[in-house]
Symmetry: C2
């Protein structure tokens, strides 16, 4: 009752006047122990609520049962949902998850990888900061034989498992869907062009138009920055004239919401005048009205898949390494009311 002291194998061995190793075997070992002894030990262990000290085990077995996760920001729907997926898999396999944030700083990311390897994590799952363009901190982990899985923000410089979203297909499908609804003049409002997600989504948009023989109108592709006021201005200028698009593919959540608002200010009806499909990580956007059709990133799945691949690397030391890049598909939450059929 209220032991103050955490029970160890030693305590058990003393009480039972057995050697430490016998107790250990009784608890863990296979056959080489008398049944009665085993039962005796196990009973007392249960009584005393004995739990093996994982730290001692780690020291001995040179593994920690901890996997590290480095993300830019935890407080971000995409990241936190991904972590939920990681946690799910890790938990079910007896691993623990330790979180680090890079705060979009390369430097901090490097420090984090060092801390992690010092901590002897069994593996690392990372989505790199947007500053990161060198990867020596990651290759040095691999040299130390710490397995690595990259997700979302990946790079070609590192050979390892990668989990990404098929942004191209997402934009392609969304665009095609609008085309099938009868839309011919679809705008694509997006962010800085140098980002790979921007490029992939744009290609998807363009290829869908091409497939359906719709010419690409460069003036319908708008790149904005993240400042709300300027974003609004860009969107507004596209929709002020009579000759305006009838639909939008919004490349990021914030743009999608600004579109909703600007269009309402312009007294345009959604979706009768303009239909919108936007990439969005925010579950709440489903309950917006005028309705926003959302392209959902499979965040939870990304986490799960990343964790599964990592545990494979950690536990199956067997196969010669053949790394894969898994592309996960998005889903569309189509709000009927946001996708008015043209004609």
């Amino acid at each position: 009752m209220g032991d103050q002291h955490i029970v160890t194998i030693k305590d058990i061995s003393k009480q039972l006047k057995l050697s430490i190793s016998t107790v250990s075997r009784a608890l863990r070992g296979g056959t080489e122990i008398r049944k009665e002894t085993r039962e005796l030990v196990q009973q007392l262990a249960a009584e005393l609520d004995y739990r093996p000290n994982p730290i001692a085990l780690s020291l001995k077995e040179k593994r920690s049962k901890v996997i590290g996760v480095i993300v830019p920001e935890i407080a971000n729907n995409f990241c936190s949902s991904t972590i939920a997926g990681i946690e799910e898999v890790a938990y079910s396999r007896g691993y623990y998850v330790t979180i680090f944030q890079s705060h979009e700083s390369y430097e901090r990311e490097v420090i984090n990888t060092q801390l992690l390897s010092a901590r002897r994590v069994d593996g690392l799952i990372i989505s790199v900061s947007n500053e990161t363009n060198r990867y020596q901190h990651l290759s040095s982990l691999i040299e130390k034989e710490i397995p690595l899985v990259m997700f979302d923000r990946v790079c070609s410089e590192i050979q390892t498992h990668k989990v990404v979203v098929n942004d191209y297909a997402a934009a392609f499908n969304a665009t095609e869907h609008l085309v099938e609804q009868g839309h011919r003049d679809i705008a694509h409002i997006t962010i800085a062009n140098f980002l790979s997600i921007t490029q992939n989504r744009k290609r998807g948009y363009e290829d869908a138009l091409k497939k359906h023989g719709i010419p690409i109108n460069k003036s319908r592709i708008v790149h904005c920055n993240f400042n709300t006021v300027e974003m609004d201005r860009s969107i507004r200028s596209l929709f002020e004239s009579k000759n305006r698009p009838t639909a939008i593919i919004a490349s990021v959540e914030r743009i999608a919401i600004r579109c909703l608002n600007v269009l309402m200010e312009l007294k345009l009806n959604i979706p009768e005048d303009v239909a919108i499909i936007g990439f969005s990580d925010n579950p709440l956007n489903n309950i917006l009205k005028p309705a926003l059709s959302c392209i959902r990133q499979p965040t939870f799945e990304i986490g799960k898949k990343s964790a599964e691949l990592l545990l494979e690397l950690i536990e199956e030391k067997t196969t010669e390494k053949s790394f894969q890049t898994v592309e996960l598909g998005t889903t569309m939450d189509l709000m009927e009311s946001s996708l008015y059929k043209k004609q």
Copy 2:
């Protein structure tokens, strides 16, 4: 170069033909070592990129430098922002954060606490599941001398530091603000009455009205469930008649957003016809228009404060325990356009 092997003190001692203990002292110890020896050791250590093995340290010092966090769901703005705050403080003080989710299950929460104590975490920060109404799993941690801090969802049964939000004051201030804008008929739309946040917020709302001599009209206090359709119906019935409130205090984010939408459907202008202030954890709600004035939970601060209190418990074994309950204030993101002044 690509060492394959993680350097230990032993490696250094061999290379330098010194004893292990000398090396240890050189690295850590104070004066009792020759300057040259120390420098020699430290130089080689740096060269080899030696990092003390934290697992060995933990085993020796019976502490892990890990703090556990149990939350209902990571993928939830409130929780993830809080964790960000915890991580911030922990990181700066050399601690690591390991995350567990209870998924709102009492059983899983209990298992998590057991795992944590088996893991020898140095402390725990927890927001209990909504199923939890017994607290033996927490008191048993305290018995094992694992310090504990509770946040947001706390209980009176456990004696420890607690960090909560002053929901009462938040609702009071928001309501008073509306009154000062000239509103006399303010609705309070909220959720199930048995929840403590519901009660606190309602009291705040009511007391603000009382203070200003406005009678409380029970029919203006609406409890809804979480089903969107029913929520809409409740809201709608409140605003359909001519004799409708001129303002709303929305007790949770989802309600606030549904209010926006229902009011728009009813062709009511926001804020000219109805002003809205809603509790909201979602930063994106700031960019909604019609504008939503938001009551922001100090999530990041909650995390930071919790971590600070926990580290105090962990590190300052000095003072006789005197536990405090810290009440943090909310902030209001007042959107001018959502708070039309009456008359």
